[in-house]
């Protein structure tokens, strides 16, 4: 068993963290400002949809981090202690992430929510199906739920980050017991809030459609984003000369395995299972969600997802060695975070307006009726600028969270195990 000496290692961000915090923060805010300036290019409704897409992408990464943190305590994992602080640091952004939700909140409460969520439009009251669903899908209950979600996430991430940091100073192993004791409860709370948040903010974009697997799909999306993000974060922190001893090839290997397992295989499994049931039954109300995603330009986006999110990463990650070399796993993680954004985009944006389908009776006629022009959608600068700025803010927030604490939980009773652990 090899012993690792952390005394020579740089375990704090120091002034580097401050620089990245300011730089990415300024860039992020400037990006958001420019996006608002470009609002007219996209149009009001499209802008709000892009905003929702970018918000859900950064939220997914934070939720993935929260899941990972809770999971490590739930199963009393030893290997992950050296990387757990970084995951806690990303999850701690859930404390302020609601700020990015304000524009959507304002839109809904001001009564213009119908531009984003069809069920919030005044006309929805005349639609029988939406009227039947209104006991759940109404604005008051919607914002109460949103507040509950953000409160639960802030509380959980704060609890785990705070207690873990206090343990650094006190060295008290009982803190680990407390975190483990709350882990099952935290995991249940996480699962419920994450599932219903995805129902509320993504699935209800098409309120007549439903899929009980949708929450799991958004979970698969969020862990993909998180494992890619933490691999990149570790890679760049090591590039800056930090954590040289603490985080080894073995940790890259295990995070790579999880990216492969959750982000590639599990994602494909869930996405396909959801698709196949709907495809086989072929009931109009269920297929309505996949219809916009398999016609026109979206057909190609769906294909890009299958190959770019499953086939290619599967072949790249299935062997042992690409996960064990920092350079190769960082490149794969970089690709995965891009395709992860495409995936969230694909979840949020596609819609076929009723007007585009007027007069079409058979499926072939429907397909012909749909052109990029009739979809009323086109890719614009805001679609790139918004997620980039919000990811930049996420980096800034993470640097802020980790500004004063050690980058590894120095007093965790399992730290030794994590440092010396090896994959067979």
């Amino acid at each position: 068993m090899k012993r690792i000496d952390l005394s020579r290692d740089t375990l704090t961000l120091g002034s580097f963290g401050g620089k990245v915090f300011v730089l990415s923060g300024v860039l992020g805010l400037a990006g958001l400002g420019v996006s608002f300036g470009l609002k007219s290019i996209a149009g009001n409704d499209a802008f709000m949809k892009s905003w929702l897409f970018a918000f859900l992408a950064v939220l997914a990464i934070c939720l993935g981090a929260l899941f990972f943190t809770i999971l490590q305590h739930l199963v009393k994992a030893g290997w992950s202690v050296a990387v757990r602080r970084l995951s806690e640091g990303i999850a701690a952004n859930l404390v302020w992430i609601w700020v990015l939700f304000i524009p959507i909140f304002v839109l809904m409460v001001s009564g213009n929510g119908g531009h984003l969520f069809p069920w919030a439009a005044p006309e929805a009251a005349h639609d029988h199906l939406l009227h039947e669903k209104s006991s759940y899908l109404n604005i008051t209950f919607w914002w109460i739920r949103a507040v509950v979600f953000f409160a639960v996430w802030a509380l959980l991430s704060r609890f785990y980050f705070g207690l873990s940091r206090r343990q650094d100073a006190s060295g008290d192993y009982k803190a680990t017991n407390t975190m483990q004791w709350f882990a099952p409860l935290a995991m249940i709370l996480y699962a419920l809030t994450q599932t219903f948040a995805s129902y509320d903010w993504i699935m209800s974009l098409e309120p007549k459609w439903f899929s009980t697997m949708f929450g799991v799909y958004y979970f698969a999306v969020s862990v993909t984003g998180f494992f890619s993000a933490i691999l990149l974060l570790i890679f760049f922190l090591q590039k800056s000369g930090r954590l040289q001893e603490a985080i080894t090839r073995e940790h890259y290997h295990d995070l790579g395995k999880l990216l492969f397992g959750f982000g590639v295989v599990f994602w494909a499994y869930i996405g396909y299972s959801q698709y196949m049931l709907i495809w086989y039954a072929n009931i109009p109300i269920e297929t309505s969600w996949f219809f916009p995603r398999q016609i026109g330009p979206w057909y190609w986006v769906s294909l890009i997802l299958i190959f770019g999110h499953f086939v290619l990463p599967f072949l790249l990650l299935v062997s042992r060695w690409p996960k064990r070399f920092k350079g190769s796993i960082a490149i794969i993680a970089g690709w995965m975070i891009i395709i992860f954004c495409v995936d969230v985009y694909w979840l949020v944006i596609p819609v076929v307006p009723e007007s585009a389908l007027a007069g079409a009776e058979t499926y072939d006629q429907l397909v012909e009726a749909v052109t990029p022009a009739s979809l009323g959608w086109q890719l614009n600068a805001v679609d790139f600028l918004l997620p980039a700025s919000m990811l930049s803010l996420l980096l800034s927030g993470t640097m802020f969270n980790l500004r004063r604490c050690s980058l590894v939980p120095t007093s965790d009773p399992r730290l030794e195990e994590s440092l010396s652990f090896e994959n067979f």
């Binding site: 068993m1 090899k2 698709y275 196949m276 086989y280 062997s319 042992r320 090896e422 067979f424």
Partner: protein, 193 residues
């Protein structure tokens, strides 16, 4: 030693160690001395022992990959073949598939085939893994000289053994024995075939 009369029949030498650290150190020296037919026997997996012994990574994953790929291709072939409209094998054997129409789907429809592709991939991967593992490890092995010695029964409890086999090209009775002695074992045990 009383074994001098049976020296012709010796199968190998076993050197006994009491700690994982000791056997790891000794294994490095055996590997450096250039022995090839030798092995370590321990009651539990010892971290770093593979590296100390200089064991090459197994080729099992590559075999399994192609096993799995075979499963995928067999699944595609089976389903397309049995559902096909008409295939003329070498233009002389006409084969007509069952052509069951299920819920209005095309006869050759990708999404319906995926579960079978998945299952056969997993099945053939698993069978290839177990089968190749048996072949690569030389299993089933109904008799092994290491298991004959009653003293070496402690392999399963609290002792660590390095065994050098007589068939190693570098093996000579005296030299190997004194080499093992130089590693500082608790004891050295000659093994009968």
């Amino acid at each position: 030693m009383s074994q001098s009369s049976s020296r012709e029949k010796i199968w190998g030498y076993a050197a006994e160690f009491t700690t994982p650290a000791a056997i790891t150190q000794a294994a490095k020296k055996v590997a450096a001395a250039g022995y090839r037919w030798w092995d370590c026997h321990t009651p539990f997996p010892v971290h770093g022992l593979d590296i100390a012994m200089g064991v090459k990574p197994t080729i099992l994953p590559i075999i399994v990959f192609f096993g799995g790929l075979t499963g995928t291709l067999v699944a595609i072939f089976l389903q397309v073949f049995t559902n096909s409209l008409e295939v003329n094998l070498w233009a002389i054997v006409p084969v007509i598939g069952y052509q069951f129409e299920v819920s209005g789907k095309p006869l050759i429809s990708g999404p319906a085939f995926v579960p079978v592709m998945f299952e056969l991939t997993v099945l053939l991967s698993a069978l290839t893994t177990v089968g190749s593992m048996f072949l690569l490890n030389g299993l089933p092995c109904l008799y092994h000289p290491v298991l004959k010695s009653t003293k070496l029964a402690r392999i399963t409890d609290d002792r660590f053994y390095i065994v050098i086999e007589a068939r190693d090209p570098k093996f000579t009775d005296e030299a190997t024995r004194s080499f093992l002695d130089s590693l500082g074992p608790e004891s050295i045990e000659p093994l009968e075939p």
